[in-house]
């Protein structure tokens, strides 16, 4: 594919614009912004990756991963319900998951320690972890709001914060990880995963593309469950003080 054919692909942007204009859907502005942003962001990333791949310097790999973690933290902070001190909790979670997955992948020689493998896989791992963090925080907030009475009941009977929040924590971990597990059950039946489709289009042998896709799927299972568990255990102590009192105000609501 060259820039000429890519320009032709803009037809797929004009179709929704035309429909939006004709039917007064009001989607024009957002469509144009989304198109421009995606062009700029992806091209910048593409060229950056090219430099990183060519130099193959560990420092650049670290910088890229640090940038991903920063962006994921920012986004999760913006979209998820916030808890006091959420920034460092998210950073620790993302760093831990990145480290855990890369150590296993490189340690067992599943992938070589090169930018070509490490960066795209890190992107998928951190991106997935970010989505899970948002899902978990929103669910945790909802669980606590609907069961505040139970939390205080357990505390009033002399239970510890961990005992008081146990049910809500487990329910939130389960609820946020179920979509990842469920989606893997039907994968390939309806829609081919994006990465695999990309590899096939780029000429990779479909079986090898499947092997890589399976690796990613397994990675995402670890990412999903570890993110929710780690974030949950980092988050819940913030909701209580040393007098074992439940501090509802530690959840900071976003203005809609």
């Amino acid at each position: 594919m060259n820039y000429f054919t890519l320009t032709l692909a803009l037809i797929f942007v004009f179709i929704p614009l035309l429909l939006s204009k004709t039917l007064h859907l009001g989607l024009e502005k957002d469509t144009v912004i989304a198109t421009i942003r995606s062009i700029i962001q992806l091209l910048v990333v593409g060229y950056l990756l090219k430099i990183v791949f060519e130099t193959e310097h560990l420092f650049f790999i670290f910088i890229m991963i640090a940038l991903m973690i920063t962006a994921a933290t920012q986004n999760a902070r913006k979209k998820g319900v916030s808890i006091k001190g959420i920034t460092w909790k998210l950073v620790i979670t993302f760093m831990f998951i990145e480290l855990l997955t890369q150590v296993i992948l490189i340690g067992f020689h599943i992938i070589p320690p090169t930018a070509q493998y490490m960066i795209p896989i890190s992107g998928m791992v951190i991106g997935n972890s970010m989505v899970l963090a948002i899902l978990f925080l929103n669910r945790f907030d909802a669980e606590i709001a609907s069961r505040k009475e139970h939390i205080e009941l357990i505390l009033s009977l002399g239970g510890t914060p961990k005992q008081a929040i146990h049910k809500q924590l487990i329910a939130s971990i389960k609820a946020s990880t179920i979509p990842t597990i469920e989606s893997q059950k039907t994968i390939g039946l309806v829609q081919l995963p994006g990465m695999m489709s990309g590899q096939i289009i780029a000429g990779t042998d479909p079986v090898q593309a499947v092997q890589f896709q399976l690796l990613i799927l397994f990675l995402l299972l670890t990412t999903a469950v570890t993110t929710s568990v780690l974030l949950g255990f980092l988050a819940y102590p913030t909701l209580f003080n040393d007098r074992m009192q439940f501090l509802e105000t530690r959840f900071i609501k976003k203005e809609k």
């Binding site: 009475e149 139970h150 205080e152 357990i154 505390l155 009977l157 002399g158 074992m244 009192q245 439940f246």
Partner: protein, 243 residues
């Protein structure tokens, strides 16, 4: 302080506010040990907040609270909550049977609990032992309150805080609960603090009464003394003219 010896709970200039709004202001008073003290007053005057402070679920902005002569801050929260038990108005039940609700305090403190003990607790609150494996969330209002009281009693508290526990019950269940509380007070010498919005109930069950108005302790003493008060608002409340 010498009077702490006869005092179950002592409040000293206790104030509590939420977002700058005073809920309780400069409360000072003693709750006598082994007696039933009722707390009355219009809605929104901080009665439940007083209980949450006593059970240590919240801390005052200023002032001190003493439980059995010891500053509440010096207690480890778990021990405090075992001594001062709270039965909330809504009698919240955890998911599961009556048995799982009764065993909750035992589970929390890692103690063994069996059916025989559960039946003893049910007997204590005059509930049919056959209810043991019924779904706790399908009990009637009266049964639910009794299970809540039994669960609260499991820690053998010395002070029992009852937050409007009969407000949603029919007269028969109300009477049963009143008898139950009176018998617990008599049998175990448990100090009872009882929030009620019914003056007639306060007269029936209380040895002493505290009347809260606008977050302040407007009057306290024997109910007969309160009835003699020349405070117009107190008289209006006693006559049922304010809720």
């Amino acid at each position: 302080m010498s009077n702490n010896e006869q005092t179950a709970i002592r409040f000293e200039h206790v104030s509590y506010s939420i977002n700058g709004k005073n809920i309780l202001y400069d409360i000072t008073g003693n709750v006598p040990i082994g007696k039933i003290t009722t707390i009355v007053g219009p809605s929104g005057t901080g009665k439940s907040t007083l209980f949450r402070l006593s059970n240590g679920l919240i801390s005052p902005d200023s002032g001190k609270i003493f439980v059995l002569g010891k500053n509440i801050e010096e207690y480890d929260p778990v021990s405090l909550r075992k001594i001062v038990a709270l039965a909330p108005q809504s009698a919240p039940m955890i998911e599961g049977t009556v048995f799982s609700n009764l065993r909750l305090p035992f589970d929390l403190h890692g103690k063994a609990f069996d059916e025989t003990e559960a039946k003893k607790l049910l007997h204590l609150v005059n509930l049919d032992p056959d209810l043991l494996f019924h779904d706790a969330n399908r009990l009637s209002g009266g049964e639910r309150q009794k299970v809540s009281i039994a669960r609260t009693l499991a820690n053998r508290p010395q002070i029992l805080l009852l937050d409007e526990i009969t407000s949603s019950l029919d007269p028969v269940s109300q009477q049963e609960i009143e008898h139950l509380i009176l018998s617990i007070n008599e049998k175990y010498k448990t100090t009872i603090l009882w929030i009620t919005h019914q003056m007639d109930q306060a007269i029936r069950v209380g040895d002493f009464t505290w009347m809260l108005m606008d977050g302040k302790l407007a009057e306290s003493g024997k109910i007969s003394e309160l009835q003699m008060s020349d405070n117009v608002r107190i008289q209006q409340f006693i006559k049922g003219e304010t809720k």
